[in-house]
Symmetry: C2
């Protein structure tokens, strides 16, 4: 079931400064910033050819990455996103193994407009895992 | 200069248990465990088609991931590795921007037998970055 590594998301306190680091020190190719108010983040994508890095800065009140940045003020790796073909089948398999799905256990529309699930980090080696149906 | 996302490394306290989670709950395709005593880790690779996840368990005394696991006992995302074509040119560019390279600043032979550099997390958004010449 596990498909491609769609992206690695890095939470950052200052998207402009973070973009400058990736552009100037690492020579990365960056997208323009994209505000996603319904997800509480502004993002910049880094195209690595085979996959993507998503730099995320909090947007508005109650951003879902605000608490993470309080604990990690310089930023840090926030989650990894894997592609799956069938998110409902993925959910059923996960629930059968006892793995916890965040929220009410049903797919939501993710930041890319596709159905996603987030899995509990305690069940996945301290790593927040997003599954996205592609 | 920034090339492909070569892998994401996840430090884990128990490689067998971690492998079972990725295999059973996520349906991932796993390599056999590979002991790398000169790097102080035993690793299992997960092939995502476009990239790799590297599960790493400490091996022997003084493993470089022992301190990380003390702070993150359930495991966690340890580093991301990007490919570069010319590691010496990458080092020069990084040093010109003031970014800190771990160790003596010169490429070492990494876990895959290729020249690598590790960059200071404080200069890269709280993220340990490995560059690997491919």
């Amino acid at each position: 079931m596990l498909g491609r590594l769609n992206h690695v998301a890095i939470a950052v306190p200052d998207l402009e400064a973070a973009s400058a680091i990736y552009r100037d020190a690492l020579g990365a190719k960056l997208s323009d910033p994209q505000a996603l108010p319904e997800h509480g983040v502004t993002v910049v994508f880094i195209d690595t050819g085979n996959s993507k890095i998503e730099l995320m800065e909090p947007l508005g009140e109650g951003s879902p990455i605000a608490a993470f940045l309080e604990k990690n003020p310089s930023g840090g790796m926030h989650h990894v996103c894997y592609e799956v073909e069938d998110i409902a089948a993925a959910r059923d398999r996960l629930q059968a193994t006892g793995a916890r799905i965040l929220g009410d256990g049903n797919p939501k529309t993710g930041a890319h407009g596709k159905p996603v699930l987030f899995l509990h980090p305690k069940d996945f080696l301290g790593t927040l895992v997003e599954l996205e149906q592609v």
